[in-house]
Every structure is written in C-alpha cells, then in structure tokens.
Amino acid sequence: MSLSVEIKNLNKYFGKFQALKDINLEIKEGEVFAYIGPNGAGKSTTIRTLLGILQASSGQVKVFGKDAWKDAVEIHKRIAYVPGDVNLWPNLTGGEVIDLFVRLRGSHDKALRERLIRDFNLDPTKKCRTYSKGNRQKVALVAAFASDVDLYILDEPTSGLDPLMEQVFQDCVMEQKNKGKGVFLSSHIMSEVERLCDRVGIIREGQLVEVGTLDDLRHLTSYTMTVSTERPIEGLENIEGVYDIAKEGYSVKFQVNTDKMGIVINHLQPFGITKLESTPPSLEELFMRHYGATS
C-alpha cells in the first residue's frame, strides 16, 4: 500500500529555537493516525509543515509522494484541513465560507453540504463574527467533510464541540475511514483517539517519542493487576518489573510490565488464586506516563 505521509529526518527551527527534532514518520493511505503530545510539543508545527505553510529547515516531507513545500497546491487538492482555532472573515456568512472552501478544493456536492449542515446543526446565514467558537469550528468541519478528498488533516478539530457534536464528528470520521480515506488527527481528547485511530504517534518537546498501534504502545507499558488468594502472597517484590504493590489482607494490587506477566502468574499460582483482574492502561494513563516524563 502506498504512503500518504512520509517524513524523513525533519527538523524545524524558528530562529535558534528548534521546534521539531529529527522527526521520522510514515502513514499509509487510508490510515487514521493520531498525533498527540503536550502543549507546545510541535504538533501544529508538524501539521503546518505537512501543509507547506512552513518550510522544513532540513529533512524531507512528502504527502502522497509529493514534496509538501514545492507541490503544495497539487497536494492540497487531495486534502482538507481544519485548525483548532478557526479564524474566519467576520463579514462573510458561514454558508459563504463553506462554499468558498469546497469550491477551492474543486468539489461541489450540494446534497452532502446540506446534510452536513443539518447534522452539525449549523445556521449558515449567520455572519462569522457572530458564531461561537464551536460554531466556527463546525463551519470548518462542514467545509472539510463536504469536500471530496483523500486525507483529512485535523488539528484539534473538536476542542470547542459539545458532546453531541463530538459524536457527529466521530461518525463523520468513521464514515470517511470506511470509505478508505485517511485522517491525520491531532487531539487532546483521548477517548476520541482511542475510538477512531489505527495508530498513534506521541511527540514531546519536538521529538517523536513513540509510534504504534494502541496495542503496541500497551506492550511497552504495564498492566494493573488485582489478585485475591487463599494464602498471603510472598516474594512479589523480588520479581523484576513489578512495582507499586499495595496489600490489603489477602488481596494485592500492583503494576506489572507486560513482558513479565507470565512470570508473575507462575509465581502467584501456588498461593491459590481466587480472583484475578488485569486492566490495560487507558490511553490517558499511557500519556500521563509519557507526558509526565518531562519533569
């Protein structure tokens, strides 16, 4: 399968400040990819480089096999972009802006536009300056999903949406995913990422620290186990990869690294297991671990 995004050794400097450090990333066509990381990590900078709005200081950035900087116009015919902070022209109405963007991208599916306006519950006759933040975002989302493109680049597109609209948004993404369209989604809403994305990349201080499927990422971390036994457990603290042990009578709660799971179960067997629960870390916890590593 061909790649929709291909980033090799990307560095981006703003003056002396290095915003992106040696980023390498490949995304397949039709893949829904989540790009997450703390504030100021470099997500928007990466996205703007993908869009050819910023020029890479060094390295290669390709979208659909074309150079993101030189062939920006060609590439943009196949993508739709929604930023987190949507600034629109105060004197134009939402409907006018939607039509503008859809036409600039070269598509015009009137029925789809009407349906999306209805689904997102948007009044297209209002002037953009009178829209709330969420409504401005809806204008950009409708304009994106009403365009016939192959890759959606979304930079925190739902930061202002209510839960109902968040649902509409997720349905739209699923619909595109089922049609085989790709999505590059930067988001701080972990439930959204867990539900929608095939793969996740974590960026911190300009460095891509982790890339993989959710399962891949979980393998790198630990599960929470709660065990009840007939006899008190001993020697658990001597096993490598087990920590945060909290005993409460015959019940023990602890963290265990994924690769030590077998050893731990073997160790527990002789104590007579009556109850065993293991919970995978939520994405939230995964990120707390990665984000937290800063300090």
């Binding site: 709005i53 020029q55 116009v73 902070d85 949507v86 409907g95 006018e96 600039l104 209002k126 009178t130």
Partner: protein
C-alpha cells in the same frame, strides 16, 4: 453606579506597558520628522523662498489642501512652517489616536482578550476609561516633548519659534489627538467588527478634513471650518497670535464626546455594537469561487467608497479651478511662477482683474496651455500621494490576513501562494488607475460647470495629467509587495516613505531642494503636465521597475513561512 470605574488606573498602567513600544515609535518619528527637520528647513527656506511658498499656498486649491495662510503678513520661518504643516501633522496624530483607541477597546473585545479582563474585579467602564486616560497620557507626552523639541529646533537661527508658541503647537497636536481618541471611542461602540469601526473612524477623519476645506475656501463660511478640529487647530495661529481659545473648545468637545462613548459602553453588551449584525446569504456567490474573488469580495465596499471619495475630492478641486484664474491674475508671485515662462508679466500691472485674465489667457493659449490645466496637473500630484495610502492598505491586507491566521486556511484549500498574493496586488494595481481616473473625472465634471471658459480644460488632458502618475504608484505598490514578501514585519516602513513623498511633494514645488533630492521618490520622476512632456522611455522604465519589485516580492513570498508575522 458606584464602582463603574473600579481599578481603571491599574488597567491604565497595563495599557501603557503595552504601548511602550508602539506609541514611543510614533512619538519619536513625529518628533524627528516635524521638529528634527526644522534646522534643515530653516536653511532651505530663506525669506524669499518663504514668500514664494506663501503665494503657492495662498492659491484656493492649496488652501483647500493645507488650510488658510495666516503667515503672509509677517512670514517668519516659524510662522510659515507651522502654518503649512499643521493640518497634516494633526491628521497624522489623529491617525495615531484612532489606532491607539481601537487597539485597546474594540480590537481587544473582538479578539476575546477583553472578556478575560472583564472577569477581573473591574468596573464596567474601567476599560474605556483606562483607554482614554492612556490616550491622555500619551498625547500629553507628545504635547510636551513636541513643544520642547520645536523650541530647541528653532534655536538654530532667526526662526521666531518662541517657547510659548512651541508649547502651543505641541499642545495643539496633543489636543487634536484627544478629540480623535474620543471620537474613535464613540465610533467603537457602533459596530462589533474592528474593521468596520476602523473604517468609520477614517471616514470621519476624512469628512472632518473636507469640512475644514469647505470652510477654509469660502471666507463667508469660515464658521464651517471651526466645526472640524483640523480647522480649529489652524486658528491657534502658532508663532503669529498664539491663540489658546481653540484648545479650550477642543477640550470641551473631547469631554462631551467621551461622555457619550462612556454612556453607550455602559448600556451595551460585551461583543455587541449599536448596529446589530444582520443574517446574510446561506450560499457563496459567484465571487467566492477563487482566492482573488474572495479578496475582492472582502474589500469591494472599501474600494467603492474610496473611488467615490476620490471623485468627490477631485470635484472639490474642480470647483476652485474657476477662482484660480482670477487668483493668478491678481497675484504677482503666481504670475512669475506660472506666466513667467510665457509672457512679460509687467503688462498686467494695474489692470482690472477681468482684463488681466483675458491677456493672461491669450498669452497662455498662444503657448497651448491654460491656467486650469496647470492647476489640474498640480492637484493630481497631491491626489496621487493621497490615493497611495489606499493602495498600501489594499496590498498590506495580505499581511493582515496572515496575521489573523486566515491565509493558511485559503492556502490549505489548494491555492498557490502566487495566485493568493496576486489577488491583493491586482486590486492595488488596478485601483491605482481607478483612483487617478476618479479624481480626474470628478475634477472635470465640476470644472466644466464652473469654469468661465469650459474649453480650457479638456477631458483628455485631465485624464492624462492624472494617469501619468500611475507608474509611480505602481512602483510604490511594488515596494510594498516586496516588503510583504521579504520583510513582513517591516511593512510599516512604506508609510514612512509615503509621508516623506508627501513632504517632498509639498515643499518640492518651489525649487528649494537640489533636484536629486526630489528624485528620491518615484513621484519626483513624474512629468508635471502641461509644462513638461511625457517621456515614454522613463515611463517604460518606471513600469519595468514596478514589475521587477513586484516579481521579487512574489519570489520571496513563495519562499517564506506563513504565519511568521505572529512570532
């Protein structure tokens, strides 16, 4: 009502902090340009040059432009310089105050910053109150430093720039600034859109300038000029009579207008204007199909307004063309200046005006020119520099869109940078022709009805003498494009260059500078019709320079990061 102004002073300190660079730059530039030039201008403008300059400015068209000349009786350097510069410097101070107030009131509100401030324990009127106090302080600093700087600058020689007059000049400018600050604060209440508020303020500024022109041109309507702060300020007659009464009137006006602004602020909701936003069309019209279409759509009202404004301005000058004949016939200096090349002016001495006009026209028509033609050429030059301001706004709109983070939305929608920028540049380039044509047509339309001999001014001549400035305007637009592409943070430079061009245009009409100095602006290379002839080679060279500058601007725009202006 208690607590409406709570914590205004805290907020004022914060605003002054935000102003420490912008306003400082404005004030320093004003000091350098206005007071710093005094020693140089003093040497350039000796007694005879001043007499010549006074005659030029006593002409009705110039009175409409710069106000009446009070310095004729006792033309000391200080009196002449202050007299001729006052309206323009006051206009600049007015513009500074429009930006100042909009920045701290409506712009903050539209951008959502004001909301955060309002959530603090502040009175409902604290923000506008603080903005007005900030304006008071900044205009106060301007008044004092300007007064002292003029006084010091005037110590080079026999300028007659006494301390009292210098301080009055400074205070006059500061108080004009305050009037415009108050007016802007009031207009900021009307619309919720910063751009509209800005437009209202500038239209008010221009209307007040025109009101002054009307009052100044007709001696029996002088009271009309007193409606406008720009007319009032001239009546201080700095370095001549040093009148203080206009200052008191303007301070009173400021208080009344500011009170109205405060009242409207107290009764309206945050993020709202007095003029409510109406719903619009649900679909994009035919313009919203391309990036240049969008650019035009966003600016079309401004373009129309400015074209109409230039037509009216042209008409205003067309109206005075008729008076000019009799003026020239009775003004010796003008006779030398204008008729000198064509006839022996001593024959006019002592003749009644009618006869003088007849003889004069005869001599001129033998040379194939008319008085009206000579003046339309004159005026078109000034109008070109004024119209340039609009062209710069149209071009730098590309930068302000970028600053508001809208450019990337359009570029991400499959629009090339070249095409995107081309929309802004094309509008500016075409407007250069439109504005010049509008001035010419306005002038022609009115002049044909007022001139004793309408045939003195042919439409083809008026158009030619106006359009001959277009290549120079294109060069200025080209420089602006280059700045937007290469040094987007430094586009403000072009405004300085515009001011300089205007200054050169004003004082360059009598030959006080070496000719190369006049040629440091593109306008110095424009032939003054009908005295000079159009040289098609220099015209072509100018067009080529404009093209080269513009192309360079596009080249760099294609190479740089978008949004870099925000950091």
């Amino acid at each position: 009502m208690k607590g409406l102004f709570e914590n205004s002073l805290q907020l004022t300190r914060f605003m002054l902090r935000r102003e420490r660079i912008t306003s400082a730059v404005w004030i320093v530039l004003l000091l350098i340009i206005v007071a710093g030039l005094v020693p140089g201008m003093y040497t350039a403008l000796d007694y005879y040059a001043r007499l010549e300059l006074i005659s030029v400015f006593e002409n009705p068209a110039m009175v409409a432009m710069a106000g009446p000349v009070f310095a004729a009786e006792n033309p000391t350097f200080g009196a002449v310089y202050a007299n001729l510069m006052f309206v323009f410097v006051a206009l600049t101070v007015g513009i500074m105050n429009i930006f100042l107030i909009v920045r701290h009131t409506r712009a903050d509100e539209e951008k959502g910053r004001y909301e955060v401030v309002r959530s603090l324990p502040l009175g409902r009127l604290a923000n506008i109150n603080a903005a007005m106090i900030t304006a008071l302080i900044i205009n106060g600093i301007l008044a004092i430093t300007m007064g002292l700087a003029m006084y010091l600058g005037g110590m080079v020689g026999d300028t007659y720039m006494c301390l009292a007059g210098s301080m009055l000049w400074g205070v006059g400018l500061g108080v004009t600034g305050l009037v415009f600050a108050a007016l802007t604060a009031l207009l900021c209440q009307l619309s919720a859109i910063t751009r509209s508020v800005m437009a209202y303020s500038f239209v008010t500024l221009i209307v007040l300038y025109l009101v002054r022109a009307i009052g100044d041109m007709n001696t029996d309507l002088e009271w009309v000029a007193l409606i406008s702060p720009l007319g009032l300020i001239l009546r201080t007659q700095v370095y001549i009579q040093n009148n203080w009464w206009p200052i008191w009137i303007m301070l009173g006006t400021t208080a009344v207008v500011a009170a109205a602004a405060f009242y409207l602020t107290s009764i309206r909701d945050i993020d709202q204007g007095m003029i409510p936003a109406k719903p619009g069309k649900a679909d994009g019209g035919f313009l919203l199909k391309s990036a240049p279409g969008l650019t035009f759509r966003l600016q079309r009202f401004t373009i129309i307004m400015i074209v109409v404004g230039m037509f009216i301005l042209g008409g205003t000058y067309g109206a005075v063309l008729a008076d000019i004949e009799s003026f020239v016939a009775s003004n010796e200096m003008y006779q030398t200046l204008i008729l000198g090349p064509f006839m022996d002016i001593s024959v006019l001495e002592g003749l009644p005006v009618d006869e003088a006009i007849a003889i004069m026209n005869q001599a001129l028509s033998a040379a194939g020119v008319t008085v009206a033609e000579m003046f339309s050429g004159f005026i078109n030059g000034m109008m070109a520099v004024m119209g340039l301001a609009a062209l710069i706004v149209f071009t730098t709109k590309a930068k302000s869109e970028e600053k508001d983070i809208r450019t990337e939305l359009v570029l991400a929608a499959s629009v090339s940078r070249t095409k995107y920028l081309a929309g802004f540049v094309a509008i500016a380039m075409i407007s250069a022709i439109l504005l010049q044509a509008a001035v010419a047509l306005g002038m022609y339309a009115v002049a044909t009805t007022t001139l004793v001999n309408p045939g003195d001014l042919s439409i083809s001549f008026v158009l030619r003498s106006a359009l001959v400035f277009v290549p120079a305007l294109w060069i200025m637009v080209g420089i602006t494009v280059l700045l937007v592409g290469l040094l987007p943070k430094a586009t403000g430079f072009i405004w300085g260059y515009l001011g300089y061009s205007f200054f050169m245009d004003m004082f360059g009409r009598i030959d006080i500078f070496p000719s190369w100095v006049a040629r440091t602006t593109p306008f110095g290379w424009v032939p003054l019709l009908p005295l000079e002839e159009i040289n098609w080679i220099t015209m072509a060279v100018k067009v080529m320079i404009a093209i080269a500058l513009t192309a360079a601007g596009f080249y760099f725009y294609n190479k740089r990061d978008i949004n870099a202006v925000n950091h």
